[in-house]
């Protein structure tokens, strides 16, 4: 029997970049085939070709042994290909059924919607594949994990049997990941085939039947979890030996740099997003804030950096009150901020690289003499920073948008680490980055910690928190439900805390590590 999907010699060039270089890929019926690769390795380009968004320069696509041309997502859907994007495409104020039927509505007399018929099919699909969801529920009331199920139901409703899941675990709690994997298993048991795009090695080892690794637009190899190891996969991805664990010395605790007392912050809709949070961070330690995205971390970081007004409570940085300080006042106190949304906040993508390297110090000597920009000093500093922080770019004059995500992040790191800082607030500093860049950023963070900088690290990636943090604070629904020393934390316990299933007693929340820790609550 021919494979469900076969890509032969797919090649796609963009000006200056060979995004896909003669890629061969096969997907057998009933398998989960992981597509693993760094950002910029060509995974997305390949999937966009499969989904009809790009036309390949060379190569052919065979579905069930038959050569097909896919020119649009419509063609792809007609061929039974369905894609779950990383960012969900759901309408919050519609019900599950309405979202699912959108675009392929069941109708009476071609005019009136037949919701009942659609709802029945949704129920039937959800039973068949174990995708538990209430067809009448409004999407806005559903947790992220369930929304993802709605997306999967959506493509099953369109009778897809080749499912492409693009980084599906990025937004899920560990428990939700488990549930997703169970769903994926039951999907392949029912004869569906899944392409699972990810950069998370552990998940690949856990769920995939086969693994294809891409690097620089080429297939490095295809293997099976039984035949490989984490470190082998990592070095296939990066092209060199990768150290997966970070060596770090025990922290040398200094003075309290950041002190937060009973902080309350509202989100954009005016709802309380941070509900009375208290903690402190000392020089020389990394406090990791764990939690599923959307539990108030964003608002917390924005409040600390002056980007969002504080409703009540206090923030002290190096003993000074910064509760209502402006971003610049906070910046000038020696606070560095690696923002969560690097393209939205951290960079001006249309600017040449050198401008972004001085985006918050442009007004200070030597970059400016009163109001006049000293271009020579900026060029010199930019060259030096590009060199020192290993930013891969053809020149410092190219637009920042043309750099890869990893190099964009290095640009922010270079800018923030090149000025004297006492406190670093890093929000998801490795989101969407490849293994090589993650390794790099982690090393820099540890290095800063050992230089006696206080670091607040916010990350939904448990692995990252467990690798780097000295203490771990878990945020759930705007509150810190626990602060515990990293060495006493286990994945399972953190997972439960992140899901709001338990909380630790209040006594822990402001105490630094020397105090005796209580584990169970």
């Amino acid at each position: 029997m021919p494979p469900v999907l076969e890509l032969r010699g797919i090649t796609k060039a963009f000006p200056g970049v060979l995004a896909n270089d003669h890629i061969d890929f096969t997907l057998e019926k009933g398998e989960i085939h992981a597509l693993l690769g760094e950002n910029g390795a060509g995974k997305t380009t390949l999937m966009n070709i499969l989904y009809g968004l790009y036309t390949p320069d060379e190569g052919e696509i065979l579905i069930r042994g038959k050569k097909v041309e896919i020119h649009s997502p419509g063609d792809a859907i007609a061929q039974g290909i369905g894609m779950v994007h990383q960012h969900f495409m759901l309408i919050p104020v519609f019900t599950v059924t309405e979202n699912v039927m959108l675009g392929v509505e069941s109708t009476n007399y071609r005019v009136f919607l037949n919701r009942r018929q659609a709802a029945e099919r949704v129920s039937q699909i959800s039973e068949q594949y174990g995708l538990r969801v209430d067809p009448e529920a409004y999407v806005q009331d559903l947790p992220v994990g369930v929304r993802q199920r709605v997306e999967i139901i959506k493509i099953l409703y369109r009778e897809a049997d080749i499912l492409v899941l693009d980084e599906p675990t990025a937004v899920l709690t560990p428990q939700e990941v488990k549930e997703l994997f169970a769903v994926m298993r039951s999907l392949v048991d029912e004869g569906k085939s899944i392409i699972f795009i990810t950069h998370k090695l552990k998940e690949v080892m856990e769920i995939a039947d086969r693994i294809t690794v891409l690097r620089d637009g080429r297939v490095v190899g295809t293997t099976k979890p039984q035949e490989t190891s984490l470190s082998e996969l990592a070095s296939m991805m990066v092209g060199r030996e990768v150290i997966l664990t970070v060596d770090k010395k025990p922290p040398r605790l200094g003075e309290v740099v950041l002190e937060v007392k009973d902080l309350r912050v509202r989100d954009d809709r005016g709802d309380l997003a941070v509900k009375g949070v208290s903690f402190d961070v000392r020089a020389g330690e990394i406090l990791g804030v764990a939690g599923v995205q959307g539990n108030g971390q964003t608002e917390l970081v924005e409040a600390l950096t002056g980007l969002r007004p504080v409703e009540s409570g206090e923030v002290h940085i190096l003993g000074g009150d910064t509760t209502h300080a402006s971003p610049r006042q906070i910046l000038e106190k020696g606070v560095a901020h690696v923002p969560e949304d690097r393209q939205g906040n951290g960079l001006v993508l249309s600017y040449p690289l050198l401008d972004n390297l001085v985006l918050n110090t442009y007004y200070l000597p030597p970059f400016a003499d009163s109001i006049i920009i000293q271009e020579r000093a900026i060029i010199a500093a930019a060259k030096e920073r590009v060199e020192r922080f290993d930013i891969r770019t053809p020149s410092i004059f190219v637009t920042t948008a043309s750099l890869s995500g990893g190099n964009q992040q290095k640009t922010i790191v270079a800018r923030e680490f090149s000025r004297p800082i006492r406190l670093l607030i890093a929000a998801q500093p490795t989101r969407g980055l490849d293994v090589g860049s993650i390794e790099y950023i982690h090393e820099r963070l540890i290095e800063k910690r050992d230089e006696d900088t206080a670091i607040l690290l916010v990350s939904p990636e448990l692995d990252e928190i467990l690798t780097l943090a000295d203490r771990i604070a878990v945020m759930y629904e705007g509150e810190i439900v626990a602060i515990l020393p990293a060495e006493e934390a286990t994945r399972e316990e953190l997972g439960l805390l992140m899901a709001g299933a338990k909380r630790l007693p209040e006594t822990l929340t402001t105490q630094p590590r020397e105090k005796e820790a209580v584990t169970e609550g």
């Binding site: 995004a19 951290g346 960079l347 001006v348 918050n360 043309s402």
Partner: protein
């Protein structure tokens, strides 16, 4: 060492030019794109407007009614109509080359400048008309760079003109080197204060500057009606709705002698364009304005005050528009009456887009617009409706605003980058 001076200066100029080119490339996205698409847009617009010229000409239309009897006649009539129309546009805006040559010969042999002045009249008019366009175009462009859509240039021109005419006729007893600069500065300040209101409202309350500047335009129009019609305010005692003439000490000197209206404001406009370029790209204030325009969230993150920059950019934009009005008053009209600005402020929005919000682009676009407007008068004499010029301008803007359309027409290959930057706030480019 002294001999090296000119060489050094030349190298300096060259370097500056390179810098401009570099910035143009970086700021706009490809030199080829920056020049090629506008060129093709203008060409396409000329061709399509030609169609309108032809169908608005009864002789041509009747010739096509008998197309099958005499196709040659129909085609030749078409061509004659087009060539005479665009010929008139050219002679009306640049001048008749033969006439200029003859006048030059007369001038060199007899020393009589009158025919030369007459021959140069069209180009003098074009350049004179481009002066308010340059100022107003810079005003809108500077707003764009900060992410602001200043639709109020028309009103700001009027306010600037009124303020500077007031200084021009009311303040007496000063020599020109005090009176003229004073009139200019007051005009600019008045425009700045007027438009800073919209900037302030946006910064403080979030009120959208498009709505506010449109409303401020109406305020400016009605305010000027009030001022002009009341003799106790700025009107003439006779009751005609116009202000008194300004004193000669406030005149911007006419450089080619009367009746040519080409005045010193043209060089001032070029200087101000250079100044705007320097301000936007070489100072920290300009860096802030551009950052707020390109990504306000990043600007806030970097510690810039978005609100302050809105007020500053809007104020500067208004100052430039005010200068447009002041230049018209002091260089051309010498008073303010009804219809003082025939839509310079509105045209300048299109013009700033055409010039990609870059001072150099704005100057070039302003020259084009000035030329078109001046040439239109000559076309009108031939019986071709002046609306054709408006159609032409509209077409140019349409094609500029939709570069994909131009690429489609001329089958240009798009060089798509792997990560394409999309300017969602992209009025300014």
């Amino acid at each position: 060492m002294r001999e090296r001076e000119p060489e050094k200066r030349a190298r300096g100029v060259l370097k500056a030019l390179q810098q401009v080119a570099k910035e143009t490339v970086l700021g706009i996205g490809g030199l080829r794109e920056a020049l090629f698409v506008p060129f093709l847009a203008i060409l396409t617009a000329l061709i399509i407007s030609g169609l309108f010229i032809v169908i608005s000409e009864p002789v041509v239309v009747s010739a096509y009614a008998n197309f099958f009897q005499s196709p040659g006649y129909a085609l030749s009539v078409t061509l004659t109509t087009l060539s005479s129309a665009y010929g008139a546009l050219f002679r009306g805006s640049i001048g008749d080359p033969k006439e200029i040559y003859r006048a030059l010969v007369t001038f060199s042999q007899v020393g009589d400048a009158a025919p030369l002045r007459y021959a140069l009249y069209p180009i003098s008019e074009s350049l004179t008309t481009s002066v308010p366009y340059i100022f107003a175009g810079l005003a809108v462009a500077l707003g764009f760079r900060c992410g602001l859509f200043n639709i109020g240039a028309e009103g700001q021109i009027l306010i600037g003109g009124l303020a500077s005419v007031w200084v021009g006729y009311n303040i007496t007893g000063f020599p020109w080197f005090i009176h003229l600069p004073l009139a200019l500065v007051v005009g600019a300040l008045a425009g700045a204060l007027w438009s800073a209101i919209a900037g302030y409202l946006k910064a403080k309350t979030g009120a959208h500057e498009v709505i506010n500047t449109i409303m401020m335009n109406y305020l400016a129009f009605r305010l000027s009606d009030l001022l002009l019609t009341d003799p106790r305010l700025m009107g003439r005692p006779t009751g005609t709705p116009m202000t008194p003439q300004i004193l000669p000490t406030a005149y911007l000197p006419r450089l080619l002698g009367s009746p040519l209206r080409f005045h010193a404001g043209f060089f001032m406009a070029l200087g101000v364009a250079a100044l705007v370029y320097w301000f936007l790209w070489k100072t920290t204030l300009g860096f802030e304005i551009r950052t707020v325009g390109a990504n306000p969230d990043a600007a806030r993150y970097a510690g810039m005050s978005v609100a302050k920059n809105f007020v500053l950019a809007m104020g500067l934009s208004g100052a430039l528009a005010g200068l447009a009005g002041a230049n018209e008053v002091l260089g051309v009209t010498h008073f303010v009456g009804g219809g003082f600005s025939p839509g310079y402020g509105f045209d300048s929005i299109a013009l700033a887009l055409l010039g990609k919000s870059h001072p150099l682009g704005v100057v070039l676009a302003a020259l084009l617009f000035g030329t078109l407007r001046a040439g239109a008068a000559k076309m009108q004499i031939l019986g071709i409706p002046i609306d054709i010029i408006q159609i032409l301008q509209a077409m140019i803007i349409m094609f500029i605003a939709a570069p994909a359309l131009v690429r489609l027409i001329y089958r240009l290959k798009v060089e798509r980058e792997v990560t394409e930057v999309v300017f969602t706030r992209g009025w300014g480019g």
